[in-house]
Subunit: 255 residues, 2 copies
DNA sequence: CATTGTGAAGCGTTTCACAGCC
DNA sequence: GGCTGTGAAACGCTTCACAATG
């Protein structure tokens, strides 16, 4: 049993799906499922089975032909590959609506990302407690990052303050940033940035809604919606769904 | 001046970037900038200039060679293409931490997505007011969707309740869903679903952090971080940044 | 014989490079 | 001269199809 690290560079698209497999596999493990086929995993994840196999193949060959994958082992391998063998404390900048929600949302800590601290510029907010974490002043950012060994920062400030927040995070020593503000952050190339823009997501939906209305002007206003919750199929109309962020073209499995 | 609708199908990747251009262009318009080149727009958006030009070309040929694009006109074209010529009221299911933050976050309404309603199963939450909107019981969902002509629903429930929420939304007549719960929703193919999973984003960052640690064990602990905020360059190390969700390979412009 | 693992084909996206135009 | 618009090349991701195999 070789515990060697896979040398290959894993494609970004695959990296983005591994967390989804991981969640599904963890659920299966809880339900005492010991083995799973690529077909089943694909069904649960709303993806193509070939994609699942290719994705998993980047981790190494951990399946058994004719049988499937051992759930527990796969969970272990994915965790290792994603660097989830230990916790990654995060620091949140901005204790507004969003920052509060993030701090209060238990799912972060549960999934291995405990909130090491939350900071704000506004002295009025300092001292209040959110999700068990006391809000501290932004000047204490460096100290928090250093003492708690934080690598990941979350920007949850208003748009105007986001760039400054990012710069402070970088100066404090953070190397990855999750940005919720609708701006493109300017940071050194060595810093990994991911952006989540809620308005953009809605605007993409708006595009499809608009298209629906334009493409075929004739259409029964609330056509055949039903047949929900049946099998395991998933997904939007050749659009984006469970896995794959922006460019997943998913089709239901239809067992 | 042809106001004809572009016939071409716009690639999904482009659709995902148009909102970003739109935001930048709107900002430029506010600063009284009348004309902009693909180079400048690329710089501000953290993308390649060729990509900007190709993206905009799908809208039609609205630029002027040797000059650039007229900001106001481009704003108008992108809005039209994205279906943002009118508002899209949204309904939020789930008045927990996240639902509250979303309702309280003014940015939604400002960007053309007013919160038409927020519902919850918990009677204790019904009646409370969030961001100016009173929480109503989930049984009133259909009525809200019908009377306010809502097309877009937001799932902000705990994981366990998400599938039910989605089914209710679909039954109520919603045709697009923005899902914040970490599950793959099973809905009819005709429904457009987009998913935002905060834990997944963090896990992707974790992967890169882990990789950083593994790839080259020798490295100055807090190497050359500086040179921030200088020009207009952007982006991560060949990874994801401003534009492009999952698969943007951005490189700074370095004027 | 069911299911994995994977070359190879297919497809969508990005980038290049330059002709076309103001 | 500067900048757009776009074929064509390059790239990465997805899907197919089937040989390999427990």
């Amino acid at each position: 049993m070789p515990t060697e690290r896979p040398r290959r560079r894993i494609p970004e698209a695959t990296v983005a799906r591994l967390p989804v497999y991981l969640r599904i596999l963890s659920e299966q493990a809880e339900e005492e499922v010991e083995s799973i086929s690529s077909d089943r995993l694909a069904e649960l994840g709303g993806v193509n089975a070939a994609k699942v196999r290719k994705d998993l193949s980047y981790l190494g060959s951990y399946g058994t032909r004719g049988v499937g994958y051992e759930v527990a082992y796969l969970v272990y391998q994915i965790r290792r590959e994603l660097g989830l063998t230990h916790d990654w404390p995060v620091v949140i900048v901005g204790a507004g609506n969003l920052g509060q929600a993030l701090a209060g949302y238990g799912g972060f800590g549960e999934r291995g990302f405990p909130v090491a601290g939350i900071v704000d510029v506004d002295p009025a907010k300092v001292g209040t407690v959110l999700g068990g974490v006391r809000v501290r002043h932004i000047d204490e950012l460096s100290q928090i990052v250093q003492s708690k060994r934080v690598n990941i920062g979350v920007v949850a400030t208003p748009t105007a303050a986001a760039q400054d927040a990012a710069e402070r995070l970088v100066r404090a020593g953070v190397t990855s940033i999750l940005n919720f503000a609708p701006v493109v952050l300017s940071v050194p190339r060595s810093i990994e940035v991911r952006k989540v823009d809620l308005a953009v997501e809605l605007q993409i939906l708006s595009y499809h809604e608009q298209r629906r209305a334009t493409t075929s002007t004739l259409r029964s206003v609330s056509g055949g919606v039903s047949g929900i919750g049946g099998g395991g199929g998933v997904s939007g109309p050749g659009g984006t769904s469970g896995i794959g962020g922006t460019a997943a073209t998913t089709r239901p499995a239809s067992a």
